[in-house]
Structure formats: C-alpha cells, structure tokens
Symmetry: C2
Subunit: 315 residues, 2 copies
C-alpha cells in the first residue's frame, strides 16, 4: 500500500453513519433528505495567503472547516458532509494528527461527516468542500434583500482584523482577538433559524462593507449602516486607536459572523432568537432603494476606508 493511501486510512478514514458510501471509493454517495435541496461550497486555503507558515495545525484544521461551514450557515443549510483535498510538502505525523483533531472536533460539533478527499505532495494547500441541505424556497440567498429591511449582524465585528493589524493590545485582549482569528465559530444554528426570519444573508469573510456590497449588488438595493451601531467586543473597545478599530469593524475580514436583512416586523422574533442562542444580534442599518453601501457617522456622513475588503489577489 502506498504512503498516500496509508495516510488517508490512518488520519481521515472514519466509518460514515449517514452517507451511503464514505471515504475509499471513486466517489462518496449520499441521499438528500426528502424535500430538501443540496447546498455546496468549496474554499481553498493557501499557506502564506490565508494562514501563516508554521501556524498551529489544530487551529488550521478547525479554521479550514469553519470557513466552509460558515458558507453553509450563510445560506441557511443544515451541514452534512465534507471533503478534504490536501497538498502537503511532507508527511509529518504529529502535524497530521493535530490537523485532523482540529477538523474532526469541529465536524463532530456540527454532525458533519468527512466522506472523501485527496492527498498529494505539494506546497501546503487545503481545499475543503462542504455539503448541506436546505428547503429550496427557504435558502438565504444574497439576492433577497428588500428596501425597508433592517440589516443585522451576529456577534462582534473586527476582532480578527484587529489581531492582524499590529495594533498594540493588552495580553487578554490580544489573546481574545487571536482566538477570533484562528478559531472562528460558524453560525450554523443561527443560519438554520433565519430561514424563517430573514430575506437574505451572507457571511462576513472579506469585511462587512465588501460583503454587504455583494448583497446590495445581487439584490439591486442600497444599504446604509450606522457606524456607531456596529457591535464591538470588550477587546476591540479597549483599543486606543479608534479609527483603526472602526476600520477593522467595517472593512476587516475573517469575522465569519452572519450579516442578514429582515422585515421590520421580525425585530422582536430576531431579538428573542439572539437570547435563545446566547448570541448577540445587532441591528446595524437599513436597506433602501439604490445601489451602494454606505457606512455613516453620527452626522450622516459616509465614511471612507483605505481598505475596502479582502482581495485574494492583492499583493
């Protein structure tokens, strides 16, 4: 048996309970639940671009799956399966063990089965594909925002970007922000519940302003956000550089919170949902007719940021 197959068997082969056929054949097979559409997303993470060389393997296993699950959350899908393609410069058992531990711990939390993949030698690169299920007419698409909708966001914004910003943070705040960057928590339960409450949703991977611009473009609407309303963690609130902190909230990436729009009539239900999930849900703006996204200060003036959002081809 070759090293490749041995590797897959040892670290990534688990008997699947729900899939009809898991790791080890030409394809994996599964049956979608009756009445549900299938949802799929794929994300590639490259060393030196999406994560630093020498990053902790367990965190990387967590994050690689988390950013993919976040896409399922954003469309309101129930997570089900994942496939992992992995290029590695060499086989290091302890690294693989930690990576698999990080990945499977998160997968188990959300009932996700690893049903396939591919491993090869090459510059460190991960490509995860996730599959979930959602009633087709309840999917939280980017093109569903309507003028008059409230705009909401989950959790707090800007922590991950602040960890990368080089801004001096105290020990506790620095640790918190680093954890937000390295171990994002995909908002699966929120996404599933928003199927009944929201008109559109997106996960914040590239930065709030850039991601809301996708919603505005797809929906043919404008969005106004009140800068003062953006939810902030205690760590971010402790940052002395206020303009930098606000820029992280409005334009920093890697938050993996959900931004969504919903009818004004659902305000109370959304408030109750946040309390039920123990997850702050904050109303941050309004959808209106038009075609731009503005982040407004207390005087109603649009703010401009040097960094518009994360561009994977930026040098």
């Amino acid at each position: 048996m070759s090293a490749e197959f041995d590797l897959i068997d040892r670290f990534f082969s688990r008997r699947s309970r729900r899939a009809l056929l898991g790791v080890g054949d030409d394809c994996a097979l599964w049956q979608a639940p009756a009445g549900m559409a299938c949802a799929v997303s794929t994300d590639m993470l490259v060393e030196g671009r999406h994560f630093e060389a020498g990053v902790d393997a367990e965190s990387l296993g967590h994050k690689a799956l988390a950013v993919n699950l976040s896409d399922l959350a954003a469309i309101g899908a129930d997570p089900a399966y994942a496939l992992l393609a992995l290029a590695l410069p060499s086989i290091e058992e302890s690294w693989l063990q930690s990576f698999a531990h990080g990945l499977f711990t998160l997968a188990d939390q959300h009932g996700v089965e690893l049903i396939g993949g591919d491993t090869t030698r090459g510059p460190l690169c991960l490509c995860i594909t996730v599959i979930g299920h959602v009633p087709a007419d309840r999917a939280l698409r980017r093109d569903g925002a309507r003028p008059g909708d409230d705009v909401w966001v989950s959790g707090t914004l800007g922590d991950a970007a602040l960890a990368l910003s080089g801004t001096g943070l105290s020990g506790e705040a620095a640790r918190f922000c680093r954890d937000r960057l390295d171990r994002p928590q995909p908002r699966m339960a929120l996404g599933q519940r928003l199927r009944e409450l929201a008109h559109s949703a997106i996960d914040i991977s590239d930065g709030l302003a850039a991601d809301l611009a996708h919603v505005a473009r797809a929906s043919g609407v404008a969005i106004d956000i009140a800068a003062e309303s953006l939810p902030k963690s205690a760590a971010l609130a402790s940052c002395a550089d206020r303009p930098r902190a606000l820029e992280c909230q409005a334009a920093g990436g890697d938050d993996y919170e959900l931004a969504f729009t919903a009818s004004v009539s659902n305000r109370e239900a959304i408030g109750a949902l946040g309390r039920e999930l123990s997850l702050p849900l904050t109303r941050i703006g309004t959808v209106r007719e038009g075609h731009e996204v503005r982040i407004l200060d207390l005087h109603g003036e649009a703010l401009a940021f040097a960094r518009a959002g994360f561009d994977h081809f930026e040098s």
Copy 2:
C-alpha cells in the same frame, strides 16, 4: 470590485440552467432527481506533480475536469455539476481564457454546469469537485466484485505512461500517446450503462494493478489478469521495448479507462455495448477467492513490476 471577483465573473460565471443557484452566492444549490443518490468526488492537481510547469492551459482545463468526471464514470453516475478552486501565481488573461475553454468544452460535452468555486493567489494548484447522480442500489462500488466474475477494461492501456516513459516513439505514436496523457476522455456513457451490467468498477488513474488491488481489497477477493490479453494501441504495439510497454500497460497511471467486473452471463451484452459505444471492451482476467492481484504471463507465472503504481507522495 476586486480583481478576484472580476476574474470569476469574466471567465467562470455562466448562467446555470439546471442548478437552483449557481456561481455567485455563499453556496450553490441543486435538487437531486427523484430516486437518485448524489455522488461527489474531489481531486487536487498540483503543478510539478500532476502536470508540468508551462503545460498548455487548454489541455490542463480539459484534464483537470476529465480526471474528476472519470471518478463519476467509475461509480456509474450521471454527471451534473462541478466546482473549481484555483490558486494562481498571477492573473494572465490569455492563460485563463484557454484554461476556461478547455474546461467548458469538456463540461458542455457531458452536460456539466460549473456552479461554484474559489480563486486565490498561490502556487498553481487546482481542486475540482464534481457532483452527479446515480440510483443508490446501482452504484458501481469497489466492493462489489464476486469470485467467478470476469474482469474487463475499456480502451487501451499504458499509452499515457508510455508518453512519460522517455521511450523513443515515432512521431505519430508519440503524438498519440501524448494526447492520451494530456486529454483523457472520461468514460461517462460506459459507466452509466454498466450500472445494469457490472458488479464493480474503478477508473485507472494509478495503474491497472494498483487500482485492481483497491477492488480486490474492498471486495475481499483475488484477481488474476492475463498479461497477453491487455489491450494495446497501435502506438504502444510499435514500442520496441516490450518489457517497458507491458509495464506501462499493467502499472502505468493516467489511463482513465474503466476496469470492471461482471458476471460471465453478461459477456454477450458487454460485447454488444462496446460495439454500440465504439469503445473496445476487453476481457482481461478473472475474480477468484483470495486476496491478491496477479498479472500472469503465458506460463501462468506472476510478473513483478518495479513500479507498483502512482504514489502521490513518492519523491
């Protein structure tokens, strides 16, 4: 709009006809046909490992999709969708245009819609995920081979490996073998029709002996192959180095033909299918009780090959 999104829009965004939601949202959505299971496979191709630096972009686009579709063929699935994750060292429009042309030409031949993906800067690396549909109880799994089955293979063997072997070939034969290496044809129609005729199947990516070893292991059987019966192209037959040519047939990778096992009672039907598809289908051996794969010469002696099959971690 950032360069990344612009890139996706320009080269890889096509309106999907069958999917509920294609490129451009957090996830793509589709509905599996009634009574069908979903099949999925993912493969990563790394420059310098799966293809040479400077390879023709159009061929690469073809091959990257072809090797994935071949996995769907091997399980007997109807191809439906693909997702493309692409790391590129830089954005070269002419390269992307040729790559997209190669990929979409093959996709169109098989009715495959590109419904999602990801692009990023990094060392050249492709990860394609393909999705198809197959009746769950008709899927051609690796674990279905039964003692007494015939072993069959489609097309000819060893041409791709011969192109890489450095063996001197004449102009015409060299071109033929190079084409077999660069532009494999996934055997979709054959895989679909074998749902009614075969007990097990696999596509030959790592080499006949290595791939049949997967079938033998999964099915708990032994397989005997008659070396003399292995189908050869005119190009391979013209190779003066007979031992090398045989090694390419038995242990070379990258053929992307289907090897399958079927009841003796289906010999006539399989012969007729080969004629209908204008694709040679050759009976090359027998499944028996046991647990090894042997390639036997005319005297019934097991042949040994220096190269057991393609190992993606081999140095």
